[in-house]
């Protein structure tokens, strides 16, 4: 991102072109690290359907051993947001380069 010549409306307004993306990333981190703690604890659509039909998973979900609770959830949310960003960025970059090399 640092190599391109700033063009377009962002540049004409004197903003760094990456600013809108950084704002969205900051919003995502605030959601994952804070607002997600206020998430509804009600069952989601699948859980509700399974409960109504009396279906239960036959095995327990594997959970990494470690601390639980709100702080752990906030840390996991922030870490997950950054990792998801990094993974998608890395995979997207590799795919874009491969696609760009194709005739």
């Amino acid at each position: 991102m640092g190599r391109h010549v700033p063009r377009g409306r962002a540049a004409s307004r004197g903003w760094h072109p990456a600013l809108p993306l950084l704002i969205v990333l900051a919003i995502a981190l605030v959601i994952a690290g804070g607002l997600a703690l206020l998430s509804s604890r009600l069952p989601d659509g699948l859980e509700r359907t399974l409960a109504d039909l009396g279906v239960r998973p036959q095995t327990a979900a594997f959970v990494w051993p470690g601390p639980a609770g709100a702080p752990a959830q906030a840390v996991a949310g922030i870490a997950g947001t950054l990792v998801a960003c990094g993974v998608a960025w890395a995979v997207g970059r590799a795919l874009a380069r491969r696609g760009g090399r194709r005739p």
Partner: protein, 235 residues
């Protein structure tokens, strides 16, 4: 909508994993053509946003909650192939870090939420925008918003239908019971998805106008039903 482990049998898990991997591979190949290198940072930020947004469950009706899926937002921004890559990245991280969705059921979840959902959204959106639209102005904005809403709603319902089919195939529940129940709840949850997607896409259009002109590298073509591409063309 993340299927946990212990619900699907080995045959269904394997079938869904093979189908999901094949479709994801095809999507990744397509993504290489859809993406330009300049759009890659946008792809990463989209994955971050979807990951975070999926953490918030909002109450709907009858003691049930739903969460934003994001497949339609990604599909209408980048195209369905790149959306599959974004959604798969989100699902893998959710599975490994938050135990959201089973590890063995990851293939089924990728098939439902990273393949069926974005392609359904893209196909629905493409069908709607194929109708001749006013050239510009408020009417065109309304039609684009409605198209995004319907595409997002349809993506959630389609993914729920796929999950219900897998549950029935695995013998976890009869198809006649699990399908209508899943479709009912996700038809309601899809309304929230549609509203969030329509608003978020309007912001994405703004980003495309603010971002440097990507030119041909953006790979964003209105003919492919790429909303950001349509907007970017005007910016």
């Amino acid at each position: 909508m993340h299927i946990p482990d212990g619900l699907l049998d080995a045959r269904t898990l394997a079938g869904a994993a093979v189908l999901g991997a094949a479709a994801l591979g095809a999507g990744a190949a397509r993504a290489g053509r859809e993406l330009g290198e300049r759009r890659v940072p946008f792809l990463g930020v989209m994955a971050a946003f979807i990951f975070a947004a999926q953490m918030i469950n909002f109450p709907v009706a009858g003691g049930t909650s739903g969460h934003f899926l994001g497949a339609a937002l990604a599909a209408l921004t980048f195209g369905p192939g790149a959306a599959s890559v974004v959604m798969a990245a989100v699902l893998v991280v959710q599975c490994l870090l938050l135990a959201d969705g089973g590890l063995l059921a990851l293939g089924a979840n990728i098939l439902n939420m990273a393949v069926v959902a974005p392609w359904a959204a893209w196909a629905l959106h493409r069908a709607i925008v194929a109708v001749p639209l006013p050239a510009g102005g408020a009417a065109a904005r309304v039609v684009r918003g409605v198209a995004a809403f319907v595409a997002a709603w349809g993506s959630v319902v389609a993914a729920a239908g796929a999950a219900a089919g897998q549950l029935a195939l695995a013998g976890a529940a009869p198809l006649g019971l699990v399908m209508p129940a899943m479709l009912f709840w996700h038809a309601i949850i899809g309304v929230g998805e549609g509203a969030i997607t329509a608003v978020a896409l309007a912001y994405v259009r703004g980003l495309r106008r603010l971002a440097p002109d990507d030119g041909a590298a953006a790979g964003a073509s209105p003919a492919r039903g790429d909303v950001a591409g349509q907007a970017g063309g005007g910016g």
